[in-house]
Symmetry: C2
Subunit: 193 residues, 2 copies
DNA sequence: GTCTATAGAAGGATAGAC
DNA sequence: GTCTATCCTTCTATAGAC
């Protein structure tokens, strides 16, 4: 899906490739550690070419992250539709793991990067998703242990795919293992109806 | 031992306070997002004063992180001393949670910061601790699910204390909840002998 | 132990040619 | 849509006075 649709490009690849390059560098070096110069160099263009597509670095960062907000909303919607909490939690875990496996870098940058954290604090309309998860999925008045467990789950999902022991597994195995971890943390017995 | 800054430290209160300030800013803004200027400003001194204590930024970062390596080694030692795997895992979980609750910022910066990740890749003598955990605590030939669970646990421990729902709890409650999360992830039934 | 001053490199961002 | 060239700011790091 993300692939090399542009193939070997002598010049002028456009936004899609820029997105892809930026995300890769953000994930490996951190947002603050990735200069627009580095992105331009990686693509074989100049900084000015990057500024043609995005007004600022923050603009680029938010643009790269945007898809994950849409996904998170969709996941939260699907989960919130269930009546019982175990069902909501399981739907949520499954959804998040799917997001991670298909879209790991984006999620890791969103949850883990200090630059992004500050950026979203400014755009507070984008930073309410954690509140929503607690309120609608876990339940607003949930006990602290369950809230803690949800937090550990969400944070815990960010690293696994890039580290040695897990990185080598195929996608379906990763998916199954991560879902199992989520069910353990949140104590979901099995797939509830 | 790397001999980064070590040797003598007969200085005044300057170093301790510098350590503390740097760690706080590293944790909140990321290492790359924290300039030596910002550290100096926060302490009410100049950059040059910081350079009197540390030869470079990397030197400062490694010095700030150093205590956590000592702690991790001690925790791994205590855990590895147990014969049964459940006992090793439980000792490890308890130790890590203790480290987190008492020393959260340092651990979070160590595990989560991209700058630190690159820095440790260079000093590869300091980055072997994850390997050690897998080999000695989980067991070298452990199944991928257990290895994944350990990774999720370690990563999951980095966020909780600073986020709203958990940050407000008292230390003992945090400790208990985090230990419970660890036991769930790693499926440790109870405190084994 | 801390300061002023500054070198030298790198980063974000803009203007205007093609 | 991409380029060259440039501006201004900030960063790491050093030199030398007090």
């Amino acid at each position: 899906m993300t692939g090399v649709t542009q193939g070997v490009r002598p010049r002028g690849a456009g936004r899609a490739q820029l997105h892809e390059t930026a995300l890769r560098l953000f994930a490996s070096d951190g947002v603050e550690g990735t200069s627009l110069q580095a992105i331009a160099d990686d693509m074989g263009v100049t900084k000015a070419a990057v500024y043609y597509h995005y007004r600022s670095k923050d603009d680029l960062v938010l643009s790269v992250l945007a898809p994950v907000f849409t996904e998170l909303d969709a996941i939260a919607d699907r989960a919130a539709a269930h009546r019982s909490r175990p069902a909501r939690l399981d739907e949520f875990v499954t959804g998040i793991v799917g997001l991670i496996v298909d879209n790991h870098s984006r999620f890791a940058v969103l949850v883990g990067d200090p630059y992004v954290e500050r950026l979203l604090a400014a755009h507070h309309d984008l930073s309410g998703w954690w509140r929503r998860i607690v309120d609608e999925i876990v339940g607003a008045g949930a006990d602290p242990l369950t809230q803690t467990a949800m937090l550990v789950f969400l944070t815990g999902m960010t690293a696994p795919l890039i580290k040695p022991p897990v990185a080598g597994l195929d996608a379906e195995t990763q998916r199954a293992h991560l879902i199992e971890c989520g069910r353990r943390i949140l104590q979901i017995r099995r797939r509830p109806a």
